[in-house]
Symmetry: C2
């Protein structure tokens, strides 16, 4: 790793934010850009909520609730408790301090800022020096086609706790969405040394990003190695419903399935040490595979995985180069 | 006072709510209706805020902050503090628990309820058995024409602390607004024994109600005595900018000015004991005047004034009868 090297990480919320935090400890702040899933974004109480952006922002600001991985630390729930006593909707929990983020975002958007600009202003206020970029300023709401019907993402994920059986996932409007100028700029920036796909849920968190045609093209055109970290260890997800969804979609629950899903977008793939014996079955002439400890419990785990990812990126060459 | 007698009080926020609370101690809950100014209503953070309705509701629920007279007791300000640190608008202070009221109201309105229905549901949740009726389900936003330009009410009143010099006050849309069926029902109800105009600001809190043509007609048609309590004691307002505004409008600051302002709508007028010497100058063949202690500091003061108002109502006959 050269001190001029720049990196982009594609990420969803909690799991991806852990790796982004690790990267923030080994890459200078102004050389690290996170392109974040906004397929989870929705309006609640007429407020524009961007769960993955906020998780990234709170995490990089040292402001995240470390017990849950989302929301603000030292949060209080007086608003939510009062709303419950009035018979209001409480399935999506908004802490008192967290509400301020959404209200401020609403003000900024109402003033005509793009989501990218509103995010930059919030990051500035939170003291986040890394760039956090929404994947697009165009809405691309994820819709989950389930046995219980077509569900808006947060209805599926939070309200229904990812219980309904998933048949198919739609990234609504992705074909018409454009990456923002800032996203395209980050992917074209001189000094870009690699693109990391965080160990987020490939179907719920990363695919919404990749579903934007110009995004995928820009990643290919970047002419730098693309490396993903498997969110699957053994036959289980590190966190969340990834394994359940893979089963429902008829896929083998394994790191190999994830690698196959990303296909020729990847130049390198990182699997957990405990999956060492399947590494040979995944690697091909076009796909290098590395193993390391991918489960991140402590801050040290996050930093070590970030170092491993950067080290691996330096050994992998881009297919397009 | 007969136990079947029903009463209607026209009221704004803090001052009027004190008298309404007093009345709630001497009139059975289902015999007391408050018709409340909604000229102060506005949208803030995209939330529908009805300051006077909320003050009435919180006061009658025993939920009001007794130090300020508005907002919820045992309130916390975590949302507001967080918003301030993000550079958001903080001139209108919303407590954490208070926000829930506005969010719930927004949900109810979005579900198609009228403001009157949303208010009834909130009152039910707060355990308020008296009827609190918005003066109209149609918006009638008060606009204050000042030397600094035309200001939305809350910009004038809260943001600019009622500092700009008032030239004129507009009740926008009042000519097209209709009293709700519930308001008309309350004013036509058998057993209605009197209408009380609370010692609220006549120009900012009561006139918006009276500016609705069908409201004024319904009050006249009710054929019961109408009695007002003066918000002016001596040459000063008990609270708020009433005296300042009267001066700016070129009016003498006195109870007599208030009586003259309400004109032939009134059958009776209550002034403070300390203004006893001007009573004769106010009373006419058409207007009876009573004196009592109108300044309400304790709960006992509120109840005593309510008793005096009801007693006076029974001695006054309606002009129209």
């Amino acid at each position: 790793m050269n001190r001029h090297d720049r990196y982009v990480v594609l990420t969803g919320g909690i799991g991806g934010a852990k790796l982004a935090l690790g990267l923030s400890h080994v890459v200078p702040a102004d050389h690290l850009t996170a392109i974040v899933n906004t397929g989870d974004d929705f309006e609640h109480f007429d407020l524009p909520i961007s769960p993955d952006i906020d998780t990234l922002m709170y995490t990089l600001a040292g402001e995240v609730d470390e017990d849950t991985g989302w929301g603000r630390k030292q949060e209080s729930w007086r608003f939510m408790d009062a709303l419950e006593s009035l018979g209001g909707e409480t399935w999506f929990r908004l802490g008192d301090r967290d509400v301020a983020t959404h209200v401020r975002r609403a003000e900024l958007l109402r003033d005509g800022r793009r989501l990218t600009e509103a995010t930059a202003e919030l990051c500035r206020r939170f003291g986040v020096a890394q760039r956090i970029l929404p994947m697009s300023d165009d809405p691309v709401p994820t819709r989950v086609v389930t046995d219980d019907g077509i569900l808006d993402f947060q209805h599926y994920f939070v309200r229904d706790r990812a219980q309904p059986c998933v048949r198919h996932i739609e990234y609504h409007g992705a074909d018409r969405a454009r990456p923002s100028p800032e996203v395209l700029g980050a992917l074209r920036e001189p000094g870009l040394a690699g693109i990391v796909i965080a160990p987020s849920n490939p179907w719920l968190s990363i695919d919404p990003i990749l579903a934007i045609p110009a995004m995928r093209a820009a990643i290919r055109d970047a002419d730098v190695p693309v490396v993903a970290v498997s969110p699957i260890v053994g036959a289980a997800a590190i966190k969340g419903p990834t394994a359940k969804i893979m089963g429902e979609l008829g896929l083998e629950v394994s790191a190999r399935s994830v690698a196959a899903h990303y296909g020729d977008l990847l130049d390198g793939f990182i699997i957990d040490d405990t999956d060492r014996d399947v590494a040979d079955g995944i690697s091909t002439g076009d796909l290098a595979v590395a193993t390391c400890q991918t489960v991140m419990q402590s801050l040290d785990d996050r930093i070590r995985l970030a170092e491993s990812v950067l080290h691996f990126l330096n050994t992998v060459s881009s297919k397009s180069s």
